[in-house]
């Protein structure tokens, strides 16, 4: 591939895990700057609180308030090391498993507690 532009090509791009499942989009990128070394892209962040921060401070404040009311503290953000990126084409393919990503907890919860309790949800093909 030709030169890759972080914001144009990586930020907001589709993420796929090692089984080619869609596992969210690149919600933020973390750059690491160590003394005496060139800056490098260290981590891909995926998660609702990361997205909220991109809209504006008022959304973050609102979410913090909601979190306090519901007494939950962890924000289920996935931190994927950029070194796990294997391929970049229509999507960004990372060498992780969906099961290890905190940001996919809702998919797993809905599958287990809602979808699979309704007849006709499981099987190989429709």
């Amino acid at each position: 591939m030709h030169d890759i532009r972080l914001v144009h090509d990586i930020l907001d791009a589709q993420l796929c895990d090692r089984n080619n499942q869609n596992v969210g989009r690149v919600d933020a990128l973390v750059l690491e700057i160590d003394d005496g070394r060139a800056p490098r892209v260290a981590t891909i962040l995926v998660g609702g609180s990361i997205r909220a921060r991109r809209i504006g401070r008022w959304v973050t404040t609102l979410l913090d308030l909601m979190r306090q009311v519901r007494h939950t503290s962890d924000d289920k953000v996935s931190r994927i090391p950029f070194s796990l990126v294997r391929r970049i084409d229509d999507a960004i393919h990372v060498d992780v498993d969906e099961k290890d990503l905190p940001s996919e907890h809702r998919e797993r919860w809905l599958k287990q507690h809602v979808v699979c309790r309704i007849p006709g949800a499981e099987g190989e093909r429709k």
Partner: protein, 405 residues
């Protein structure tokens, strides 16, 4: 050979996609109050939708990503929130209207109040989505939607002066009651150009695995499908002009619309109208529901496909399930289907800039579109549609206040 059957299917889908509660109601209101004069608005709506669908289909076939994917990727999450919320709200309103239209058709058939049918219809639509595949949904609604050809038969049997009809295909200004005329024009455009239609179409291109080989099929089906669909809506307007306008009847209930077909075709016409309203509204219900699932799944990067078992794309399946059941509530608790339809069409019209203008950027992006970027002709059309959408954005709410209802 396979390609041609796809062309035929695509055209039929276009016809079915165009006619639904919104376009039947607004075309008939236009015909009843202003004769043939508003026919040009339907032509404008059909052409605009044809162009938008062609572009969103081409975008998906070339870039292998849907229009919603591109909206998020190219413009970033902060911008994406705006079309996301606008289309969600508008789609939900239109979805509730379509359920209302189908429920009203069942009331006309059985005499049981439409409120009772809303939840069962939603459940039936949900079952189809839960168990069916993309092509089952698409082809089922398309083929059954052909019943709406009854409008063409009706218009032909009413013997309108075709030269006057043809003359009305060119824009003209009203001689009286300008606010109401432009209000109906806005409603008709909102009913014709719905964001869910081109979002559904571009997701469909991915579901069906389109490549650049499909670009010719895409061009023919999107344009011809919508022109035929628009033609049938014009037929409904013509029938309304012949049946209602001479008696100065104003449409304020869906039930009155049965006269469109019953007047020229008798008892059979009544039943054809009931079938047309029920089938086209139910088809639209299923497609809008799926579009809401697509919009959320693609925007947030979830696993999605109507061809996968629900357990493989849980968030996608749950979001369309919640959408269709929630949208049945307004009708179930007594909202008036026609009023809801009219307000939804005006809201749709007002929402268009946020989905039309970004397309102008995407269709000229050589990184994504390579040599298949827009030419000057399609760009000119897109700019014209964008200008219309901005006018609609500013005009919709004032006109709703001045002349709605």
């Amino acid at each position: 050979m396979k390609k041609w059957s796809e062309v035929a299917l695509g055209i039929v889908t276009g016809i079915g996609g165009f006619l639904e509660a919104g376009s039947i109601a607004t075309s008939a209101q236009g015909g009843a109050e202003f004769g043939f004069q508003l026919a040009w608005v339907l032509l404008l709506g059909a052409l605009s939708l044809g162009f938008l669908m062609e572009m969103s289909g081409r975008l998906a076939a070339v870039s292998k990503r849907t229009y919603v994917d591109q909206l998020r990727e190219r413009f970033g999450f902060r911008f994406f929130v705006v079309p996301l919320l606008a289309v969600l709200v508008v789609s939900f309103m239109v979805l509730a209207s379509e359920i209302g239209g189908a429920a009203l058709a069942l009331e006309m058939a059985t005499g049981i109040s439409h409120g009772w049918f809303a939840v069962p219809l939603a459940l039936l639509g949900w079952l189809l989505l839960w168990r069916g595949t993309f092509s089952a949904v698409e082809q089922g609604t398309a083929v059954l939607g052909l019943v709406s050809l009854a409008f063409a038969v009706a218009a032909w049997k009413l013997h309108p002066q075709w030269s006057t009809v043809a003359h009305s295909l060119l824009p003209s200004r009203p001689t009286r009651n300008g606010a109401r005329y432009w209000y109906l024009a806005v409603s008709i455009l909102g009913a014709s150009i719905s964001p869910y239609l081109y979002m559904f179409y571009s997701a469909g291109a991915i579901e069906d695995g389109w490549t650049t080989e499909y670009l010719a099929v895409n061009r023919v089906t999107s344009m011809l499908g919508n022109l035929f669909g628009g033609g049938l809506a014009i037929a409904a307007l013509v029938a309304a002009a012949m049946v209602f306008a001479p008696h100065h009847v104003k449409i304020d209930q869906f039930e009155q619309l049965a006269q469109l077909l019953a007047s020229p075709l008798g008892r059979a016409g009544f039943w054809l109208f009931v079938a047309t309203l029920c089938i086209t509204c139910f088809g639209a219900t299923v497609e809008i529901t799926l579009s809401i699932g697509y919009l959320l799944a693609q925007g947030f990067g979830w696993q999605w496909s109507e061809n996968l078992k629900p357990a493989r794309d849980a968030r996608f399946s749950v979001s369309y399930s919640v959408a269709i059941l929630a949208a049945s509530i307004p009708i179930a608790i007594g909202a008036d289907p026609l009023q809801l339809t009219n307000i939804s069409m005006v809201a749709t019209a007002a929402s268009l800039p946020v989905t039309v203008i970004p397309l102008a950027v995407l269709m000229n992006d050589r990184d994504a579109m390579t040599k298949y970027v827009n030419g000057w002709g399609t760009n000119l059309a897109l700019i014209a549609i964008a200008i219309v959408s901005i006018v609609l954005f500013f005009a919709a709410v004032p006109l709703q206040i001045m002349a709605g209802g």
